[in-house]
Assembly symmetry: D2
Homo-oligomer: 374 residues x 4
Amino acid sequence: MSFNTFGRLFRFTSFGESHGAAIGCVVDGCPPRIPITAEEIQVELDKRRPGQSRFTTQRQEPDAVKIMSGVFTDEVSGQQVTTGTPIMLMIENVDQRSKDYSDIKDKYRPGHAGYAYDVKYGIYDYRGGGRASARETAVRVAAGAIARRVVPGLTVRAALVQMGPHKVDRSRWDWNEVGNNPFFCPDPVQAKFFESYLDGIRKSGSSIGAVIEVVAEGVPAGLGAPVYGKLDADLAAALMSINAVKGVEIGDGMAAAELRGEDNADEMRMGNDGSLLFLSNHAGGILGGISTGQPIVARFSVKPTSSILTPRKTVDRYGNNTEVVTKGRHDPCVGIRAVPIAEAMVACVIADHYLLHRGQVGEGPSWPFPMPGA
Amino acid sequence: MSFNTFGRLFRFTSFGESHGAAIGCVVDGCPPRIPITAEEIQVELDKRRPGQSRFTTQRQEPDAVKIMSGVFTDEVSGQQVTTGTPIMLMIENVDQRSKDYSDIKDKYRPGHAGYAYDVKYGIYDYRGGGRASARETAVRVAAGAIARRVVPGLTVRAALVQMGPHKVDRSRWDWNEVGNNPFFCPDPVQAKFFESYLDGIRKSGSSIGAVIEVVAEGVPAGLGAPVYGKLDADLAAALMSINAVKGVEIGDGMAAAELRGEDNADEMRMGNDGSLLFLSNHAGGILGGISTGQPIVARFSVKPTSSILTPRKTVDRYGNNTEVVTKGRHDPCVGIRAVPIAEAMVACVIADHYLLHRGQVGEGPSWPFPMPGA
Amino acid sequence: MSFNTFGRLFRFTSFGESHGAAIGCVVDGCPPRIPITAEEIQVELDKRRPGQSRFTTQRQEPDAVKIMSGVFTDEVSGQQVTTGTPIMLMIENVDQRSKDYSDIKDKYRPGHAGYAYDVKYGIYDYRGGGRASARETAVRVAAGAIARRVVPGLTVRAALVQMGPHKVDRSRWDWNEVGNNPFFCPDPVQAKFFESYLDGIRKSGSSIGAVIEVVAEGVPAGLGAPVYGKLDADLAAALMSINAVKGVEIGDGMAAAELRGEDNADEMRMGNDGSLLFLSNHAGGILGGISTGQPIVARFSVKPTSSILTPRKTVDRYGNNTEVVTKGRHDPCVGIRAVPIAEAMVACVIADHYLLHRGQVGEGPSWPFPMPGA
Amino acid sequence: MSFNTFGRLFRFTSFGESHGAAIGCVVDGCPPRIPITAEEIQVELDKRRPGQSRFTTQRQEPDAVKIMSGVFTDEVSGQQVTTGTPIMLMIENVDQRSKDYSDIKDKYRPGHAGYAYDVKYGIYDYRGGGRASARETAVRVAAGAIARRVVPGLTVRAALVQMGPHKVDRSRWDWNEVGNNPFFCPDPVQAKFFESYLDGIRKSGSSIGAVIEVVAEGVPAGLGAPVYGKLDADLAAALMSINAVKGVEIGDGMAAAELRGEDNADEMRMGNDGSLLFLSNHAGGILGGISTGQPIVARFSVKPTSSILTPRKTVDRYGNNTEVVTKGRHDPCVGIRAVPIAEAMVACVIADHYLLHRGQVGEGPSWPFPMPGA
C-alpha cells in the first residue's frame, strides 16, 4: 500500500539495509490462531540463503529469524499461534564486510540503484547496496512463510525455467527435481547443463539473466478485486518489485499477442463432481482480475547481476567520468535466488486477496446457482 | 490503493457499467490551479472512442465528458482551473443495446470475466460485460488527461508495435505516423499491411492479440518509492489492470533473461551541460524502482478479444454444458484501443510519484554533489 | 483513507461543491446482493434536507438522489441489489443562487473555511462555501443509508441533547419523540422550549451551538482494530470530520476525567442466556478500541453557525482590513442537521469494521471458551 | 492508515507486547537528511518512562531505544542523518514480571481490553495487558521525536490541566513549570495540591482521571486535507487512539455548544508585517479542517486506570461469575504519562500533513494575493 509496506489486509512492512544492524518486517493483519514457529519460517529462509553453492554469493549469513512479537501459546493446543497482533520478524546481520565497498563508494555502478538513490535522497548507504540490496528479500520470504498458512489448501511453487537463452524442456518438468539441483530447475537434464554453463559465466566474471515460473494451486475461485485491485495486477506489482525483475507474464503472457481468439479461449465443461472444468489455461487462472479456480501461472525475467568484473564506464557522485569494477561477493545468476522470493510474494498476494474477499463478500454464493423457478 | 481507486496521492476512483446510466471517475489529490477544460479532456477521449474505423467496435458512443466538480474560474487568468477539490468526470451512456446480450446472459463466454464475477459476487450485470467491459477504460483516459498536466515537461506516447506475430520495423519508427492510421502504428509500411491482415481476421469472425509500447519522456530523475512502491512495480500493476493485458515489460523486459551483465549495464558519461548521460537504456529508465531521467519504456501484450463468431464449448450459470457464440459489436483487435489507455495509466502513475516525491523529499538535493572539502 | 475518501473496506469517495453541477459519492467495497433502492436512500436524505422548518436554511433543494451504477436486478428475488461494483450516488444541485455571495466573495468570514482554503490552494470556490459547505454532508447520509444495510441487526440513532446551555432531561428520553419535532430532540418538553429559544436566536440574526448523541445498538462484539484503527478513534475522526464539530466523546467522554477507578469500571455478570452482561456502560461500548457488544454511545459538539447578521472584523484576500456580514440563507443552529449526518457516519464506520473483522478474523471464535480439559 | 500503522506519508508501524521480547516501530516516509540520534530520541522517551516518581507505575524499565535501520553518516556534515529508508526503532523489554499476572489470566478486569481482545481473536496475551498495554505508547514517543524534526519551526507541548475535578488556574500557566513537577502541570500551585491529592488516591488503591491539553505552535497555515483527511479529524483519531482516552476537543471543544455565533467568530486583522492576525482562537487553529497559522489547541480526557485494589464483579473466560482485584504495578493517574504521548501523536499528525501538503500543493500560493489588475 505504501513505500515499504506490501499488501492491503495481509500486510508486511519491511526495514533494514544490507550492512545495518538487522533486517526484518512487521506482518500486520494476519488472522489469529494460526500455528507458526521460527523454525518453520527458517525452513523457507534456508532455501533462499546465500552461500549454499558456488553459484550464489559467498556471503556467509545464517539468516536466523526471530519472532519478536505477535505470537502466544494457545492454552488448549499448547501450540504457539498468532494472536492477531503485529508479528515482528527480525534477522540480524552478522557478515557485513563493509570494507569491500569502500573503494567504490563514490562511483555509480551501471545497472545498480546507487545513482537513482543518490539523486532522489542526496544520501545513500552504499555498503552492499544498502536498502536496494537483494538482502531485503529475505524478509519477504519470512513473511511469505506466514502467508502460506493463511489460505487453507494453498500450494505455491516456483522454478527456474530459463537461464540466458536456454529453456527447460517442459516434457521433463518434475517438481520433485527442483530441490535436487542448485538452480531450482524442474528439468534434471537442463539442470546438469546449467552447471557447466553457469560455471563458464562465473569464471569469466560475467553474469546472466533468467526466467522464473510460479504456479499457485488451491486458490479459491473468486479472489481478486476489480478494477484496480485485480489479482493479476497485484501479482505483476509483487513480482516486478523483486530486485532485477524486468518483465512479468500471467498465463500466456507476451505470447498472447500472437494468438487468435479461438485459440486463446479456455473452453469449459462441467466436471463429474459438479465443479467447472477448464479445458486449457491460457488465462493463467485469472479472468477479469479474478481467480477462476484454475492454477495461477506467472513468469518473470530477472536481468543479469550488475556486479561484474569487466570494467564499465561510469561517473562518480561529484560528476567526474571514471570506470568501475565490482569485486565484492556476488551471484553470477541472481535469478536463482529469486525463486523462493517469488513463491513468497505470490503467497502474500493470495493471502491478502483471500482476506479481502472474505471481508467484502463473506462466505460468498454457492455455484452453480439454482435454476429460476427451481 | 483499493478496489476501484487507483493511485496514492494523485488518485481516481472509477464507477459505472457498460450499460448503466453513466461511467466516470472522481480524481482526487490533483494539485490546485492547473488549467483544464472538458474540451481538452475530450481530445484524449476521442482517440480511444470506438466506432472510428471498421477495426474497432461499431458501438456509436460520443463519449462526451462533463466536469461535474473541482474546477473554478481563476480571477486573474480568467482560465478554468483545478481547485484542489475532487474532480468528477462523467460520461453518460447513450448507445446501450442491451437486447444484444439477452440470448447469452446465462452462458459464460470463454475468456470473459462473466464466470469469475458470478462465482465471486453471485450476481453479474451481463449487459455488455457490465463493470468488466473495456468501456470502463474511457474514464482512465479522462483521468490521464489531467495527470499529464500535473508533471511539467512530461510527454507520454504509446504505439502498437506488434499485431499477431507481425512486429513493426523499428528503423521506420516515426511518432508522427501514429495518428495517420487506425492502428496507432509508428511504422507506415507495417500499418498498411495491418489493414489487410486485420480485415482478414475480422471477416473470419476471429480476433488477434497485440503488443503496445509506451514511452514517457521528461520524467524527472528520482521518482519512485522503494521497496514496494517502486515506479516499475506501479507501472506493471497499472498496465496489467487494463482489460486483456497478459504481460508487462520494462526496458529489455523478458529479453533481459538472455543478456550478460556487461551487455545489460547502461554505462554513464557526463554530458557537456553537467548532466549525466546514459549510453544505452536497457533498464527502461528505472533503476532500483527509481527513475533515472532516461525515457521510461514499457511494453505489454493484449490477448485477442474473447468475443468471436466461432462456437466455443462452455457451461451456463446453472451448471449445464452448452456452446456459445458472441454476436455483439466487438473489436477484432482490442489491443488497438489500449494505446491511449496505456498512455493515460502511465501518466497517472508518474503524476502520482511526482507528488509523492515532492511530499517526501521536497525539492530534493542538487546533483552532482560538491566534492568533500570543496 | 484519504482526502475525499472515507473508510477502509467499506469506502465512499465524495465530490461536489455547494453551487456546482452536482454532489455525490462513489461507494466502493460494499458487499454484493444487498437490496437497495433510490427510494430507500431518499428516506434518509429527506431527514437532513434543508428548508423543512424555519429553523434550518431556507434553501429549497429536493436533494433527489440517483443511483448511477453498482446495482442490478436479482433474477431470483426480482429485487434491485448491489453487485459488488462501485455504487455512484448523485444529487444534482438545483437551487444555487450564486448572486447571494458575490458581494462577500473577497472577504473572509470569521469562522468559515474561506481563508484556510485560500491560503492552502490559492483559489476558492466561494459560492455557498464551495467544497467546505455543509451541503457535502448530504452524500454522507446517502452512503450511510447503504452502510446501515451491511451489518445485520444494526440500529443507529441520534438525537440533539443540548442547544446552547440547555440540555435535555434524560429521564424524559423517548426515541419516538425524535421525529416529532424539528430539532431531533428526544425530550418533548425541552423540544417545546427549543422552539421559542431558537426563534429568539434566529430573529436576532445570531446562531447557537449544540450537542448531539449517537447510539448504535446491535453492534457485534469484536469489531475494531487495535492499535491505530481503534473503533473509537475511527468514530472520533468520523464525527470530527462533520462540519463545525469541535469535540467528540465516547461513553463518559470528558467527564471520565472526574471519575475514580471503582466508579468507572463496568462490572460484568453472566446472563441467563450464556451471554455476558455489563452492569454499566461508562466505556460507551468500546474497550481497547474493540466493541464489547454493549451499545456504542458517542457525543459531539457543534459550534454555532458562522454566518450571522452581526458585522465582524475581518480582512479581504488582498490583505485589507474590512468588516463582513453574511446575508445568505443559513441555519441558526446547524447542529440540528448534524443529527442524521452523525447517524450515517457512525453506520459507515461500523460497516467498515464489520467487513474488516470478517476479513481478518473470519467468523471468529465462539465465546465463552471451553474449559481446558473439558 | 491501517491496524498497526499510523499516518499517510509520514507513517509508523508499531509492534510488540508488554511482556514480549521487544516493542518498537518502523518509521516510513520520513524525508532524508534529517539529523537524528538515538540519544535525541531517548530524551523524549525518558519523559514518559515509568518508575520516575511514586505517582507512576513502579515498573523499572530503562526503555533504551536503538535505531536499527534508516540512518547513515552524512559525509559532508559528519552527522548521522535519515536516508529516506525505513527507520526501525526498537526497545527491548527487560522488566517483565509475568508471574504477577498468572492469577488473573482467566478473569476479565472491568475496564480492561482483555474481554474485547478475547472475543475478537479467541486468544489474548494477558501478560501485562499484552498488545493493549500502555507500554506500546513508548514507541509513539520515539516516532514523535523524529516527527518533530520534520516540520521546521514546529513546537508541540502538552500539559496536564485537570486531575479528577480539579483544574489548573490558567492565570498561573507557565510552560516552564511543566518539567518541575511529576504531573506535567503548568500551574505550580495546583501541582503542589495534586501531590497530596494523588497520594490519597494511590494509598486507597484507587485511581483518577485527568485532562491533558496540547498546543502546537509554528504550524504553517494550509495544512489539512478536506473533507475526510481534516487536520482536526486526524488529531481526534490520533488522541483517541491513546489508551484510556474517552473525549477529544479542538479549540473550544464541547463548550462550543454553548456559544453564540458572534462570540465564536475569531475576528481578523492585518498585522504590521503583512500577516493575518486572529483576535481570538475559539477554533483552536483549524478551520474547515485546515490549519490557519494560529496555535493548534487540543484537549482530551483520560479515564482512571482500570487496575485498582477494590474487588470488582466480573466473569472469567469460561463464563463463570467471579471477582477480580489487580495487584500489579500500576499508575494511580495514567493520564500523567499521556502527556508526552500526546505531544508525540500531535507531532506525527502535523508532520504527516506537512508532507501531504507539500506533495499535493507544493510550495503553495503566496498570500495575500495581488489585487486584480495590480
